[in-house]
């Protein structure tokens, strides 16, 4: 291969890796790379209007497709703006490659203009990072970055490239295959452990599938469905696993955790065996650890050994790629397990579900946020990607939207990043194209955190429909203030708001403000028909709470089922 400049290498590596779109924002230290982008156009470049949004958009693209998302930013503030995006992706194990410019090598450490210790900042919020020291090592680093991002437990990788390195010329030796002596994720599970786990399932009386985000990342939802169907063992999903089982699956008890269903949380508390497939025992799921699954033995399958036994003692640890493990496990289970065995257990749980289903009290006077989400589900079930921001609307979406498949739900789970939804929805829309609708369900707090992306959506014709569940509050914090702080609403009242209709119009989209069911239906229909960037500002009940709820640090079986003033 002929010699090329560092900037050319970056662009060429994107071509080799099959990157079709890069989200980014130029600036001084990365201009050499942008100059190559101008010349080549191997991939589409989408100019977001903030670096945070670029990384979230790459993240949304990665979540929608399973491919590696890519973002380019400049040094200094360009990079620091990107950090929230990296941290968001890191917490949810999303494969990204984020490339930042850096001041020239000779100026590093001199407090130069737009210099910041980028690798020092990104180290704790990336799977791995690089500061490139010479053009010779750049091809190897680019190839390693993609490999590390997508393999094992996926995650974001950051490459910081000094400006002079992108200008220098060197040989482009792009490795066909990356092999790292120091990084070899375990793929195949230990067969003896798998057999022991299957025996444990066979002997259990009240087993429960605890389904986590690893199922989505490893592409093993089909195998999980097989496993659940073959055993008819009840299942609960974490926020990140929504869509693994279709919403109407007979064994699905709903979401587990702080705002999970009563049946799901009681199942966790009463099970004698948890079959944990790719979850990470997050505190929003487990509640009080000493009371968590207190009668259960635990099987935990995860590709990351450090996830196993981190918080809870695990009796049957299985390290490996979930898909590879399930491929071994499913035939064994089909042969060894009699689904009739758990009949009694299923009945108990169904009874819990009838006792306290996920529900809400509808009203004719004021729109209920839950109704809006259910309505979107009725209209778009199975043919839309649903992104959210963070807060009440996110939990209601997780509770009420009828998810049918993996990668349908795009939400920031681990970091809980407000401002994630809209740019992530843009990335998802870029990924799915005209064939699918993308809706960002947001709140009146979250939407303002990346509202500038309206112009990106308009410019690149990415007609995302934003539904703002507007209660004039930072609703989730307000809810905690109501429950736990004697209604001292410290800084959560958002009565002063922009005119969202005009905001949408000012950016070249369409806006609607609705406060009845009819108006909402009309607005959604209109937005869908016109296929344009839309903001639907939905006036909803100000005081609605997300219920049921396990107060932070409480036990899963102690749920707040209703709140009466």
């Amino acid at each position: 291969m002929a010699d090329m400049s560092g900037a050319q290498m970056v662009v060429e590596a994107m071509r080799r890796e099959g990157v079709e779109v890069v989200f980014g924002y130029p600036g001084g230290a990365i201009m050499n790379v942008y100059d190559e982008i101008y010349k080549h156009r191997y991939f589409q470049h989408i100019l977001t209007r903030h670096e945070q949004a670029a990384v979230h958009a790459a993240d949304g693209y990665a979540r929608a497709t399973g491919k590696v998302g890519v973002a380019f930013v400049t040094s200094g503030p360009g990079f620091t703006n990107a950090v929230t995006g990296l941290a968001t992706a890191y917490m949810d194990s999303i494969p990204l490659v984020v490339i930042s410019g850096q001041v020239p090598l000779s100026m590093i450490g001199t407090d130069a203009f737009q210099e910041i210790d980028a690798v020092g900042i990104s180290r704790p919020c990336t799977k791995h990072n690089y500061l490139v020291q010479s053009v010779e090592e750049l091809p190897r680093i680019l190839a390693e970055a993609f490999y590390i991002a997508r393999s094992g437990r996926p995650g974001p990788v950051h490459i910081d490239i000094p400006k002079d390195v992108t200008a220098q010329v060197g040989p482009f030796n792009y490795p066909e295959e990356v092999r790292l002596e120091t990084y070899r994720p375990t793929i195949r599970g230990n067969m003896r452990q798998i057999k022991k786990a299957v025996e444990a399932i066979r002997e259990a009386k009240q087993p429960l599938f605890y389904l986590g985000g690893g199922i989505i990342h490893s592409g093993s939802a089909d195998l999980v469905r097989k496993l659940v169907d073959a055993t008819q063992i009840p299942a609960v999903e974490t926020l990140m696993a929504r869509g693994t089982l279709p919403y109407d699956h007979p064994q699905l008890l709903g979401m587990v955790g702080m705002h999970g269903s009563y049946a799901a949380n009681m199942a966790m508390s009463e099970a004698d065996l948890l079959i944990a497939l790719g979850p990470r025992f997050d505190d929003r799921v487990t509640g009080k650890l000493s009371e968590f699954a207190r009668y259960a033995k635990i099987i935990h399958v995860d590709i990351d050994p450090s996830s196993i036994g981190k918080l809870v003692h695990v009796h049957y640890p299985i390290v490996g790629d979930l898909k590879a493990v399930l491929e071994e496990m499913v035939p064994l289970v089909e042969e060894r397990i009699d689904p009739g065995r758990y009949q009694q257990w299923r009945q108990t749980l169904n009874h819990y579900n009838e006792l306290h289903p996920i529900t809400f009290e509808d009203s004719d006077e004021v729109l209920k946020p839950q109704w809006v989400i259910r309505r979107i589900g009725e209209r778009l079930k199975g043919r839309a990607r649903i992104a959210t921001d963070v807060g009440q609307h996110q939990m209601w979406t997780a509770q009420f939207y009828p998810f049918t498949r993996p990668r349908e739900f795009i939400t920031s789970g681990g970091l809980g990043t407000m401002g994630f939804g809209f740019p992530a929805a843009l990335g998802a829309k870029r990924a799915v194209g005209d064939g699918e609708v993308v809706v960002n369900i947001s709140g009146d707090g979250s939407i303002l955190m990346n509202i500038q992306e309206l112009i990106t959506a308009v410019q690149y014709r990415l007609p995302v429909i934003n539904v703002i569940l507007n209660n004039n509050y930072l609703g989730m914090v307000r809810q905690w203030q109501t429950f736990f702080y004697d209604k001292r609403y410290s800084e959560t009242d958002l009565s002063i708001q922009p005119d969202f209709v005009k905001v949408a119009e000012a950016f070249g989209g369409v806006g609607y403000r609705v406060s009845t069911k009819e108006e909402f239906d009309q607005a959604l229909d209109d937005a869908l028909n016109r296929g344009v960037v839309a903001l639907i500002d939905v006036v909803v009940d100000r005081h609605e709470n997300v219920l049921p709820m396990v107060p932070a640090g409480g036990s899963l079986y102690n749920m707040l089922l209703e709140y009466k003033d």
Partner: protein
Amino acid sequence: MTQRRVISVIVLNEHGVLTRITGLFAARGYNIETLTVAPIPKSKYSRLTIVTKGSPRVIEQIIKQLHKIIPVYKVIEHSELVEKEMVMAKIPLEERLADVEALCRAYNGNIVNIGKDSAIIMAADEPQRIGNFIEALRRFNPKEIVRSGVVAIER
């Protein structure tokens, strides 16, 4: 139930790798008692020896988290091992150097340098014995004491 543990970490000898290790300890609140680093002869690796303290679960997490760092090749949790530590000290020349020397010899040491107004001594022994040595040294009014941290090798 806190226990002392010696962990050896074999890492790729590249820039920034030490920050990855110490950053992990700092961010997760793990304790480092001593840390020594040196390149492994004729290889691209370095060896870190870390003495840490924690409950068995914390130690298990430390080891798993260390494994997760990409340039980490191997993590060795020692059970059967030989540990040594070195110490150097400056003793004023007015002290009785014959006695100092006798003490050093008892701990695999010696007087290694004599300057204008002080002698430099060294000793190398098990970490606990080094502690004892430093205690015994007090009566000779050491001006400065420098410990190396622990190195360890498996039996």
